[in-house]
């Protein structure tokens, strides 16, 4: 078995990153010009990495699937970004942010990476402010903070309900600056089809221009994947329509290990599903839980009446309501971490207390907050979210409580990376949601933006130099190499195969079926029988897909059906790996809840003796079972405890 080396630097945790930077190899300015880097993806991680690497003097090529880098799905993050600035003087520190993140992740993240994340968090805020990101401010002109789930301090910086947008536009403007300077070349509407490996190192990518269908080869000394998460394997998720797992899946098939594929975050505050034609789910920011109180009726009879429309929620008296989060978790109340809040909602709805037409919804009520603070305060804090809710549901949340239900939101799992964010393929790096690091089994709110920007602005520009330092003698690669030839051929064959099936089911119909299998069996609650069933069902569905899918059009034109088919084909493999990983992990931790492993009062029961490791899966060939490698987790600076938000 391969031994995974996380390459954690020596020394006390607070000095590891400083020591690393002090002793790492660097590339001198003259040599930087001779080195090419490919960055796939222009979200927070990709755009910030490409801009920063371009500034350093490397030749960067950056690719995005949308028509502009600004449309990457980081843009949709609403709530905020964490940093250990301690501006509110409420006792925050780098250690506390580190501690909260490891604890929030249910002790399944690598200490050294998380500590570094907390350490650079402050620089991120400085950087973004310098770029002109309009963070919310107090009347004194200084930055404002708010609190988020899983923390007892206010450390979240925000720009109304559009923090992700503003941070991404900051990174996009930095990227635009470098494109104008000529250090970064931008390719839009371009989707990664394959990774090219030469002599065991990542040396290029095969891209498809989605306008012309042209298959293009690009070579480089190193490749960064910043292609986001794979939540769309569930079909319905809060991810954008084009978000997909294909780039990291191609990397996996070329030898990069996949870390913790089963760790999926189900976000508690989303707008409930309303019809089977639905294409995606909409998130309502977690920040709403600062002021909103979550409840369901105390009696199933009342819930029934509300479901049938015989009673309005506002008519239900206070004593007939069950504020179940406040009841179960008095210390954190409505601000428990996401996994806990989601499971609690599912538990209530499964037990017959759910509301809404489908019974799959709970209330998020602002009546108390409006009474306490006044409508104008609530409007200033959440106005745009309330408006968004009203546009979708045709209900006024100032007057009647919002209805919410958990939905797939984020994948903590991803390509396995070491401390340098390098995958098991030398020269291939993964950043942001695409890698597995930092969040363990559950991500805290406002930490995704932090991680994306940390990786892109402050980690990769250092660690990649450490790798590239011994590449300065390597001449630019020619894309005529047989490895490129082969990869392009495989891509063309795959496209041809999809176009020639000519069956009678649409791509979406397969995606929907896969999503349902995943949601029912690999969703919020998982068990052995369900997971085994899911594996069998996915294999069946995959076989059926390749026999009966219908993909219209040709390759040499704009063909959204073909794009979807290529992605769904990969999801049909990725879903199975998720189920396998969930099956192996016989414990409950964070977003991974195995029904066989819970405390008597229904809380997640971790098993640190047997499962205190990162699962890193190795691809062994089509239709062969992948091999599991384990990276043991060592906790030196945090005492591992059962998470307790009571």
């Amino acid at each position: 078995m391969v031994k995974l080396d996380a390459k954690i630097p020596h020394g006390p945790i607070a000095e590891k990153w400083t020591n690393y930077k002090a002793h790492q190899n660097l590339v001198n300015p003259a040599n930087k010009r001779k080195l090419d880097i490919i960055v796939v993806g222009t979200g927070l991680a990709g755009a910030s990495a490409a801009a920063s690497l371009g500034e350093l003097g490397f030749n960067v090529k950056v690719f995005c699937i949308q028509d502009s880098p600004r449309r990457a799905h980081s843009i949709a993050a609403q709530g905020g970004i964490n940093a250990a600035k301690n501006y509110p003087n409420d006792g925050d520190s780098i250690y506390r942010l580190f501690y909260d993140t490891v604890k929030g992740g249910d002790y399944r993240a690598r200490e050294a990476n998380v500590y570094r994340l907390a350490e650079v968090s402050n620089s991120i805020i400085d950087q973004c402010v310098a770029q002109g990101v309009p963070f919310a401010r107090e009347y004194g002109g200084l930055l404002d903070n708010r609190s988020f789930g899983g923390a007892q301090v206010s450390r979240t910086f925000y720009a109304r309900g559009q923090t992700g947008q503003q941070l991404l536009l900051g990174a996009y403007s930095a990227l635009s600056k470098e494109v104008a300077n000529g250090s970064v070349k931008l390719y839009t509407r371009s989707e990664m089809m394959d990774l090219v490996i030469i002599d065991g190192r990542a040396r290029g990518v095969i891209m498809r221009d989605v306008i012309s269908g042209k298959i293009e080869r690009h070579a480089a000394h190193a490749v960064v994947l910043a292609t986001g998460g794979y939540g769309n394997v569930f079909f319905l998720s809060t991810n954008a329509m084009a978000s997909n797992g294909s780039a990291i899946w191609k990397a996996f098939r070329k030898g990069a290990f996949f870390g913790n594929p089963c760790f999926t975050q189900i976000h508690p505050t989303c707008i409930p599903v309303h019809g089977d034609y639905q294409s995606k789910l909409t998130l309502m920011s977690e920040s709403l839980r600062n002021d909103g109180r979550i409840w369901v009726p105390k009696s199933p009879e009342d819930a029934e009446k509300i479901r049938k429309g015989q009673m309005k929620p506002t008519q239900l008296p206070e004593q007939a309501r069950d504020y179940y989060l406040e009841r179960r978790y008095p210390a954190f109340g409505n601000l428990v971490p996401r996994d806990v809040a989601s499971r609690a909602a599912k538990e209530r709805c499964d037990a017959g207390f759910g509301v809404g037409k489908t019974g799959l919804a709970v209330y998020l009520d602002f009546a108390d907050a409006i009474k306490r603070l006044g409508k104008h305060v609530i409007e200033a804090r959440y106005g745009n979210l309330f408006q968004m809710y009203e546009k979708i549901n045709d209900e006024n949340p100032y007057e009647t409580p919002m209805m919410i239900y958990p939905a797939v939101h984020y994948t903590m799992g991803g390509i396995w990376v070491d401390y340098e964010l390098q995958t098991t393929i030398p020269g291939l790096f993964a950043a942001g949601e695409a890698n597995f690091s930092d969040h363990g089994a559950n991500r805290l709110g406002a930490s995704a933006l932090m991680q994306g920007l940390s990786d892109g602005y402050f980690v990769l520009p250092y660690t990649m130099q450490n790798y590239l330092a011994d590449q300065i003698g390597v001449a630019r690669f020619k894309t005529e190499a047989p490895e490129f030839e082969q990869a392009e051929k495989e891509t063309r064959d795959r496209i041809q195969k999809l176009l020639s099936v000519n069956g009678n089911h649409t791509v979406d119909s397969y995606h929907r079926k896969l999503g349902l299998i995943m949601w029912d069996n690999v969703g919020m609650g998982r068990n052995k029988a369900g997971l085994e069933k899911a594996i069998a069902l996915i294999q069946e569905l995959r076989a059926d897909f390749w026999k009966n899918v219908k993909v219209t059009g040709t390759n040499d034109q704009v063909n959204p059906e073909l794009e979807k088919a290529l992605r769904v084909a990969d999801f049909l493999e990725l879903g199975e790996l998720m189920a396998r990983d969930a099956l192996v992990r016989e414990e409950s931790c964070g977003g991974h809840f195995r029904e066989e492993h819970q405390t008597p009062d229904g809380e997640a029961l971790r098993n640190d003796k047997d499962f205190n490791f990162v699962s890193a899966w190795e691809y062994t060939g089509a239709d062969k079972e992948p091999v599991l490698h384990k990276e043991p987790l060592v906790f030196e600076y945090i005492e591992v405890k059962q998470r307790n938000y009571k």
Partner: protein
């Protein structure tokens, strides 16, 4: 509800396009406009026909990918939202809906309802940034900014780059888009240092790309899904005037 859709179909950038009528049936008022188009496309695929191509991604009104000129209005009849946020309850049973791509010289049609908006990226590259490098910046709280200016900057920065302003303007002018970025930075001390250069370069690029001129019709403000104010255009005019007057002799 049942609807007739009159949709612009154009096979490629160079092909000649035309309107084609489609009937859709049993559309739920709860469905979003794009979900209605998904249903149309699924039925087209099942019939072996080419689905209608349109840009979309986040489907929650923030990425700015979706466009569509619906019944004479960018992003359709409802105010302050994008096409993807618009629900079918805005339409009546039996109605005919005319769906067109954004029309502007700098936004050529790629296919059907998809247009190329890379002109916006080019304007951004001309100066839509503060020239700071990664690292070495002062502490975030070292520069206090009045809440009022921070709020105004945020109002302008809310732009999603969808191009509805250009689509709505009878002159296909991009002034609201450009002025939103110019304003955001002009209002903040970080952006002040390069303000003159920025406005000159961005306006020059905008003009070169072939956008029309602003005639202060304010259609852009009326149709902006983020309700960005045309006051930003005045601010840009002011910035431009100052930049021109105070520019050193070349």
């Amino acid at each position: 509800m049942d609807l007739t859709l009159k949709i612009w179909r154009q096979a490629s950038a160079t092909a000649k396009g035309k309107f084609v009528n489609y009937k859709v049936q049993d559309i739920s008022a709860e469905a979003s406009f794009l979900e209605m188009l998904d249903l149309l496309n699924e039925s087209l695929v099942q019939k072996g026909e080419e689905p209608v191509a349109f840009d979309h991604d986040c489907r929650e009104g923030i990425c700015g990918a979706c466009s569509l000129y619906i019944n004479g209005r960018p992003h359709g009849p409802d105010r302050g939202i994008t096409t993807c946020q618009m629900h079918m309850r805005n339409f009546k049973h039996g109605e005919t809906i005319v769906i067109e791509p954004w029309r502007a010289k700098p936004f050529p049609v790629i296919k059907d309802l998809m247009v190329d908006r890379s002109a916006f990226d080019e304007i951004m590259q001309a100066g839509g940034y503060v020239s700071v490098r990664t690292g070495g910046v002062p502490d975030a709280n070292a520069i206090p900014i009045s809440k009022r200016n921070a709020d105004l900057a945020m109002d302008a920065a809310a732009c999603i780059g969808c191009g509805a302003c250009v689509a709505a303007c009878k002159n296909a002018s991009a002034m609201l888009f450009v002025s939103a970025k110019v304003s955001q930075f002009a209002l903040l001390p970080q952006g002040k240092l390069e303000a003159n250069e920025r406005v000159r370069k961005m306006v020059a690029r905008m003009d070169e790309l072939g956008f029309g001129n602003c005639t202060n019709t304010y259609a852009c403000e009326a149709e902006c899904p983020k309700e960005i104010s045309a006051a930003n255009i005045a601010r840009m005019n002011r910035e431009f005037l100052v930049a021109k007057i105070t520019a050193p002799k070349e």
